[in-house]
Symmetry: D2
Subunit: 364 residues, 4 copies
């Protein structure tokens, strides 16, 4: 089954490996008539770029995006938008035993069993560079959402055990960890430095806040808005868990607390609390949508680790090279992208939900 396509009305297909000629995405079904320039997309790609602090790899990935199709005179035409980033840093090198080892925490073993062989250069398709296509497509969808009054904003919620405490979104871009709390960011930096000294790595949690989605978006069964978000977020490499609203905490509370009460406020239906995270029964309830995902520690570490190679021999492996000690900060924009694509797609779906919508459209 072809698994590189995501979405229904707007559907994205990503392609490319870490060390191939290029990576990219085709966005199909995107509506015509929206202003779009490479700069709109570059801003998002720059946020996932490495080499921006000591906590991200020193690789210099230019990651300049080109719009190859689907845009004419800076306006989307309704036909597939093809976006490409060339790999400038794809020099061949000696991968040593990494080329044949099953790196612990990586998908190498599964890849070999699935495909019979693998592109070992930089992880091939399983590389974090695969997210370039997602982020580029996310930028385009985020722009459409913006025109509809919807904002999508992700940030680091925790790194290791260190959680944000005094939430101040304006601080997110003032530290290399994308934490909207400078005090927590400071502690997290210290924690990461300790990890790096041990040749070890850390994980964390990314949270995403989606504001402005009206009630009524989503679907009651398999295409529940939260199910789509959960699938979208878990499809990001290294994500091991997803929550909507109170998430696992909801499993420990009682109904009388967890149920958000509705009330009228200035002529609108609002909720007194938002334990639901903006989604009830798979459909948006008009409140902020809150999704959260757990990201495991970077599997590539310089410590010696026992493992097995393709010849099925027990070996030791040390993974040197340019690896982020924590994936979380660079995953923030990827989470944002996947949420933007998912919500955008669902909002388009909603337009055909009712006969009266359709008759109004066709003026009948």
């Amino acid at each position: 089954m072809a698994g590189s396509t995501f979405g229904n009305n707007i559907s994205i297909t990503t392609w490319g490996e870490s060390h191939g000629k290029a990576l990219g995405v085709v966005i199909d079904g995107f509506p015509a008539g929206m202003k779009l320039t490479e700069e709109d997309i570059q801003i998002y790609l720059d946020r996932r770029k490495p080499g921006q602090s000591k906590f991200t790899t020193a690789r210099q990935e230019g990651d300049k995006v080109s719009i190859l199709s689907g845009v004419f005179n800076d306006v989307t035409t309704g036909t597939p938008i093809s976006l490409m980033v060339e790999n400038t840093d794809q020099h061949s090198k000696d991968y040593g035993n990494i080329a044949t080892a099953f790196r612990p925490g990586h998908g190498d073993y599964g890849y070999i069993e699935k495909y019979g062989f693998r592109d070992y250069r930089g992880g091939g398709r399983s590389s974090g560079r695969e997210t370039i296509g997602r982020v580029a497509a996310g930028a385009v969808c985020a722009k459409l959402l913006q025109e509809l009054g919807v904002t999508v904003c992700a940030y680091t919620k925790s790194i290791g055990d260190i959680k944000i405490y005094d939430f101040d979104l304006s601080e997110r871009d003032n530290n290399p960890l994308c934490m909207p709390d400078p005090t927590a960011a400071k502690k997290a930096e210290e924690y990461l430095e300790a990890c790096m000294l041990n040749h070890d790595s850390a994980g964390g949690i990314v949270e995403c806040l989606i504001s402005g989605v009206p009630a009524g978006v989503g679907d009651p069964v398999f295409e529940k808005l939260d199910a789509k978000l959960a699938g979208a977020l878990t499809s990001i490499g290294a994500v091991k868990g997803v929550e909507i609203g109170d998430g696992f905490v909801a499993s420990k509370t009682v109904g009388s607390i967890n149920n958000d009460k509705f009330k009228m406020e200035n002529g609108s239906v609002v909720k007194l609390t938002n334990h639901s995270g903006g989604i009830l029964g798979g459909i948006s309830d008009g409140d902020d949508i809150i999704a959260r995902c757990a990201i495991k520690p970077t599997p590539s570490i310089a410590q010696a680790q026992k493992t097995v190679n393709e010849a099925h021999e027990d070996i030791n492996i040390e993974i040197h090279g340019r690896h982020d000690p924590v994936i979380v900060p660079r995953a923030v924009v990827v989470v944002e992208a996947m949420c933007a694509i998912t919500v955008c797609d669902a909002m388009l779906s909603h337009m055909t939900d009712r006969i009266d919508f359709i008759k109004e459209f066709y003026k009948k």
Copy 2:
């Protein structure tokens, strides 16, 4: 967008509302040649049936399944398997203000905004009865998996704050809460009784263990096996979070611990630990697959709650009637079903992953 279909090679389409004439599922793409009787499916449906203890509603739902198509002489034909359960308990009644109120914790408000009106009888499509189709299809897929040496087994991991401690799977069916630990089950029963006295409800966690999936099943990007599982599980009503393997705990640990080391054992590649929960890079690693989901407290409670009605008036509501004080035990078989369908579908996909597989099939 049509959202009642799930799966690629094997694809299920569920239909039906709480108080319609019937509910059911069409399983399309199911391979020909498997023995299948109504009894195979009934066993699973009986596990989700209410009225089996004081913790499940006293409704008498016969829930007898009929195979309407796709099976000839007790063998699947390869054509769509249509399964139906008639609603025998669909007597009309006075729904009072529930018919027009936005019940807190329910999807009513979103439904109204999405569809313009709603079938208020028993929750309509958002009823737990919608899972009948999932469970019936899950039974069929579980049978196929069994023939491939794969078992799928879910159980209650926790209710409220009470977790299982001494894991003993053989105990799962000895208590009404499906907890594989009799001591924990006892405590959980006491906790639930207290909830019921308060006219309140509880949540919990269901875990699913999938054994026997060989390495190499899954996909590297949007159709990652864990992404499909996360989407499948979050599509179950009341699920607010999903974890694979260590899940959120992985976000707090370090790479040197979280990375499962590989070694050779009796000529096979095995892992020393299973933090990954059997999936790495979206592809099975040969170990047990472990998925977990958080289920919120039953939203229907008899306590008075503030809310709003369709006329946009602030009102009070008390939801009396037959409601489970906890959804968790009845969700166990639903979780099992969604995992079985997901894994079954992925195992079929794997068959076309390689040229050598294809050439072997076509004997070229």
Copy 3:
């Protein structure tokens, strides 16, 4: 691959065999708020019912439809509409060597190779009764189209060599062959009687006229409106060819003739001719859409035919029993149904084609 589902926004899944318990269809994604009763659907099903003339089998198939879900108080709810027709005429009988023979002109041999065995009772899934689900779904979509000012009307264009000449649509229902030309109908009846005397069968052409679709519906590449129609029509059993507009005749003409010239008329863009059949570049051009399909002679004939059986022996076979000498008249409503579903789906798609449509919908 599951192949019993058709359509994107509105998606239908048919199920059922000739001699199973029942046949049916699930219509998913159908918009909420449309009046719908069983009578609306029954009218279409009655048109495909056999036993209505000497040219259709004498079987008495009641074919009474039940709406099992998706409709509340005679209004569609937006959730899956499940429609079922019970098989009342499913008595077991001795199929003789038909049970194991590869009937010429039938799919038996392919079925055996594909599935390993087959449900030989009445053709199983390959029976014409499979179209019940299509027709039922077509009735529902035709009703929606009607509300949008679109009509879909099919009729018999030819039987054998006898074509309609004086087109008069009001005559279609005045003869058993659905020919909108009483003179041609008379000749065709005579031709069919001659075929029947020879224990032989005939084919013909069905044409469908779709009026009222505005320009701009369809898609430029794989989901071209004509490509969808061609796929939809060829998916009807016994169809061997499809044409849009002038079809094969267009291959023999020249550009200066085949190009329909545009002109302004009463403030509207119109075409002077309609060689295109209402579709240019995959997108509707505002003119009547014209599709046509060739239907082969009924393969079941009472003449002795050479063939092979499952034991790979050369045998002779005579297929007695209740078989239409021509499929065409009963296919008319099936063609209408598939066109209605296809156009309905495409019209919903069009609603999300442009940013200005979306912003208008979300009032931004």
Copy 4:
């Protein structure tokens, strides 16, 4: 709805406009382990290249393909194969009133109504250059088919009224019209020269012969192998009709003739005739598969034509420039490509049709 993706197991997504930076295709789900070089693809692209005779436009389109991903050391990796052809001939020019006119026979009017505006440069997405992606993907699928013993071969069946008579496939590449009959080719050339003198254009028929597909490939309902072929072929620009086997002729014959009789020959089931065109009931019957499509005359002609522009004014238009007087010869390889993709996809599907296939694969 996103409509630039085709196929299930192997799924292709094409992108690009006539005068954008580049055009291409992403082939997702293609199995791992097949040798593949740019040369394999270039051979196919060169066959659709213009400028090869007086009957194709004199444009010099280099159309050099690059493999951007999915191939490592000349072997497919199982991940998306991204193929790109840069547009070297995209100089801006003055399109005059073509930029705003609705060219007769073209999709311009529908595009404007659908998208609100259009990329008028060379037809944008509706250009014949859109087929580059199809042909490139077709080359890849044809190579896979070849490894399975399946060949796909298309040729010109007729141009205008001139049909091939003495079929000799070895002659196909000896004339610029791809006609496997030199005498017919000669007459067709004379006919085309006459058309060109009149500033007019011609159409024709392309036929495709697919050999080596075993019986049992395809599906009984909406994914019938012929339905997929019909949809695939009609999705090619300018195709107005499709036939399988005898096609429209079958509508005029009788069952006793049209039914292909089976017999045993050297231990195999064979047919005495092939009126079915290799497909019965949607499933291959082991014989050669024969598909045919009607292609309309090139709509761009230099004759003055009446039409309307975007300002809704009646105007006259003459379309000068580099246009093929007949599309047919260049469509041959496109037809071959679409057939190869369709059959390849269906053959992969067949692998999961039966429990015994699956158990054999998983050695259970």
